[in-house]
């Protein structure tokens, strides 16, 4: 195996759905050997969540599972059976990192505490991701993504001010918790490199979401101002429909003169002195918004985006997956990589969010089939053929 940032690191992932698996994926995609523990028969719950090809459920065809589990190995193991727990403990004993997403009370019940695990492996780094963390009065509160969003206060900032707050799509809470957990884990790994000491990391999903909005905390603690959802002006951030129904997001605050904006849009009416100053534009905002919105319906969003960038206006276009897959910048940087899965076939996957030497930029192994590596991994622990047969019959693996 080539030398990469994490090529000497073994990770045991006892996690499902988004948060733990994305943390595992970050480690696996940059070279770690990640062994994913799945329930015999059912596997990661993401295997049962859509979307699927043709909307026909199949445990090897969930797009969420395929995306979040590249470069891992899958071992089926019933950790609620004594022999299964025995196997898990033997795996953890030789591991560098354990990623778990069980709630704290469940970890206690299973005896998967850092004290117990580090007794046999003091170098272990244990990343525990749970909704509210291991301490505090909400530790055992029931929750799902949307509850975590609500409690974090981020949900209140998202959506239309006249409507109900809106959660973010596609399990972003889990993505945030995973990214935050990986920063702590990498810090812990570098610390362990120097000292030989592992440690326990307690990540709260709610705090992972809460910590994202950057301005709102000090607006409150310095001024007493409490933020909520807002409406953006047409000229500064609103999504405005263009020709063909694409949406453009414009900003005029990047420093380029407003007269350039008039020229960019081909709207000489904007050169009227009443729009020349920002005070004037605020005063006449309704007229301005109408002029601009109407003109945008005649313009192609992506063409306008490029023209704007060349005049140093920062614009964006609401792109769909179709647009992104066809995007010349994505192609020029070879961001997407073809991953050939034995059941689903070859598809273009988003590549690593940053490229780093020693880790292939273009190749990835597909997500594992359920239990694909059970025998290989258990044999490595010294279980022989007969033992594997018994474990299978007892539905441990």
């Amino acid at each position: 195996m080539s030398e990469s940032a994490l090529s000497d690191v073994r990770v045991i992932e006892l996690a499902a759905d988004t948060a733990g698996p994305y943390a595992g994926k970050m480690l696996a995609d940059y070279g770690a050997d990640v062994i994913k523990i799945e329930r015999p028969g059912l596997g990661d719950i993401a295997r049962r969540k859509g979307p699927f090809p043709g909307d026909i459920p199949h445990p090897e065809k969930s797009f969420q599972f395929l995306y979040l589990n590249t470069n891992k190995r899958s071992v089926t193991l019933d950790v609620y059976k004594a022999d299964g727990m025995q196997v898990l403990k033997r795996l953890v004993k030789d591991a560098d990192i354990l990623v778990v997403d069980l709630i704290p009370s469940e970890l206690d019940k299973l005896g998967l505490t850092y004290d117990a695990l580090s007794a046999t492996n003091p170098k272990l780094i244990m990343l525990s991701i749970s909704p509210f963390g291991h301490t505090g009065p909400y530790r055992d509160m029931k929750s799902t993504d949307i509850v975590q969003y609500a409690v974090s206060s981020f949900m209140n900032l998202s959506g239309n001010p006249d409507r109900e707050p809106l959660q973010h799509a596609l399990g972003q809470a889990g993505f945030m918790a995973a990214r935050n957990g990986i920063v702590a884990t990498m810090g812990a790994l570098l610390y362990r490199d120097s000292t030989g000491q592992g440690q326990f990391i307690d990540v709260s999903v709610v705090e992972s979401i809460a910590v994202q909005p950057p301005f709102q905390p000090t607006q409150y603690t310095y001024q007493g101002v409490v933020a909520t959802r807002g409406t953006e002006p047409v000229l500064d951030g609103a999504y405005v429909p263009c020709k063909g129904g694409s949406y453009i997001c414009m900003t005029t605050t990047g420093g380029a003169p407003f007269s350039d904006f008039a020229e960019l849009l081909g709207l000489p009416q904007l050169l009227d002195p009443k729009f020349a100053t920002s005070e004037g534009r605020t005063e006449n905002i309704a007229e301005l918004d109408e002029l601009v919105s109407k003109r945008l319906q005649e313009l192609d969003a992506l063409e306008l985006f490029h023209k704007a960038q060349n005049r140093r206006f920062v614009f964006g276009v609401c792109q769909t997956p179709k647009d992104i897959l066809a995007c010349p910048q994505m192609k020029a940087r070879e961001f997407f990589q073809t991953v050939d899965h034995p059941v689903v076939g070859p598809l273009q996957y988003p590549g690593r969010p940053f490229r780093i030497d020693g880790t292939s930029a273009r190749e990835s192994n597909p997500a594992p089939l359920l239990g694909q590596h059970t025998h290989e991994v258990l044999k490595g622990l010294g279980y022989d053929k007969e033992a594997l047969l018994r474990l299978t019959e007892m539905e441990v693996i």
């Binding site: 990469s4 979307p51 596609l170 990540v203 310095y222 997956p321 940087r333």
Partner: protein, 462 residues
Amino acid sequence: MTPKKAGTEGQMRVKALEGIRIITVEDFLALPFATMLLADLGAEVIRVQSHTRMIPWTMGPFPDSQPGPRYWDHNGTYDGWYRNKKSLTLDFAKPKGVQLFKELVATADIVMENNRPGVMKKFGLDYEALRQVKPDIIVITSSGYGHQGLWGNYGAFARAIDAMSGMSNACGYVGEGPVRTNASYMDTTTAWHNATAAMMALRYRRKTGRGQWIDHSMYETGVACIGQMILDYQVNGRTDHRIGNHHSVWAPHGCYRCAGNDEWVVIATTDEDEWKTLCRTMGRPELATDERFATPMARYDNQDALNAVIAEWTKPQDRHKVADLLQKAGVPAGAVNRIDDIFKDPHFKERGFIQWYSRPDAKEMGDALSRPYFGWPFKMSKTQPSIESIPNLGQHNEYVLGTILGKSEAEIAQLYQEGVIAKEPVDAEQMRPKPSKPGTEVGRGGLYKWDQDYKKVLGLKY
């Protein structure tokens, strides 16, 4: 590097990244937030900034909305992201500024920057130039679309990337247009990746002896948030599936209005027991056998009608009371909090998520003696961060130039005189912001209220 105990006032802490030196040339937000995390973990992060460019310091929020005598040093936005860093001023427009930067890079492990692509090259400070100075240097550039590729000179803000990356396209109310995730999500997302990239590159260098240039693109980080939709499009041809606050399977699952102005509660059932408990708790046990709602499939198909029934129940009630009642009964629910709720909530206090920091010069600035900030969503058993300092502009000029680079006092004095370094912005007085009244802004631009009792609520002391 041998981690050692670092002394701070009244406590000792062990730092994960002790001995690592990071130089950062940064502006809004995807990088400052990342280098903050690295400084929190114990790296020595030296923020190099020009005192000739005023823009970032004028935005506030200022204590009580009053720009103080050194308003650029008491500024909530930057206080939030400067913590634990060191501040060096350098004017890159002067050759000496560029020269000193190179001398500093020769002592560093990592250089990070998020200027518009091309800016550092213009000063002769791109990766190729810096590796001449330090062959194993790690350089991380963070920009909207990456330096390499066709769009290398394009600028970006978080909101533009939210749109471009397909994130907005995935978010929104059922049957309506795209909605931005808001609150600079794409910036902070990129920030966590920037910090991770730095630590991975450090580990790679430790193993191989080699540095490298990592050219990070916000756009790509954004697309990494919607991976399953990229796969789905290729097979199913779908370009959007906005489901708002619905769950893909379970109902009821949504956000319901409560008593008051813009007060909401979320309720999310995920099995039969929780549904039946919800019916009992609402005092509507008959709903559980109503044929429109009797099975999960029926509830999913009739969720609009069901949501209307639930909203009728929540509407006259307090959001926290509804959430507590349901939680006690065993139904996942939560009040939609606002920012002030987080500072008041005992859970976040008890976990140490709220961290207080006292500025040494608070009293002379007439500021509160101590203020609360958000801490970390992680708790590390051996190397937990703390807020040790928030630097003033140029506070570490003497340390960096004298202690690290060995310049004499006379040389440093000369640099001040020539304007290569400074302790205040050149146009501090011309640009001085006017005191604002936050109360007049409420109702516009996403401001909910001005809580004039906030000092009492937070327990600020003067």
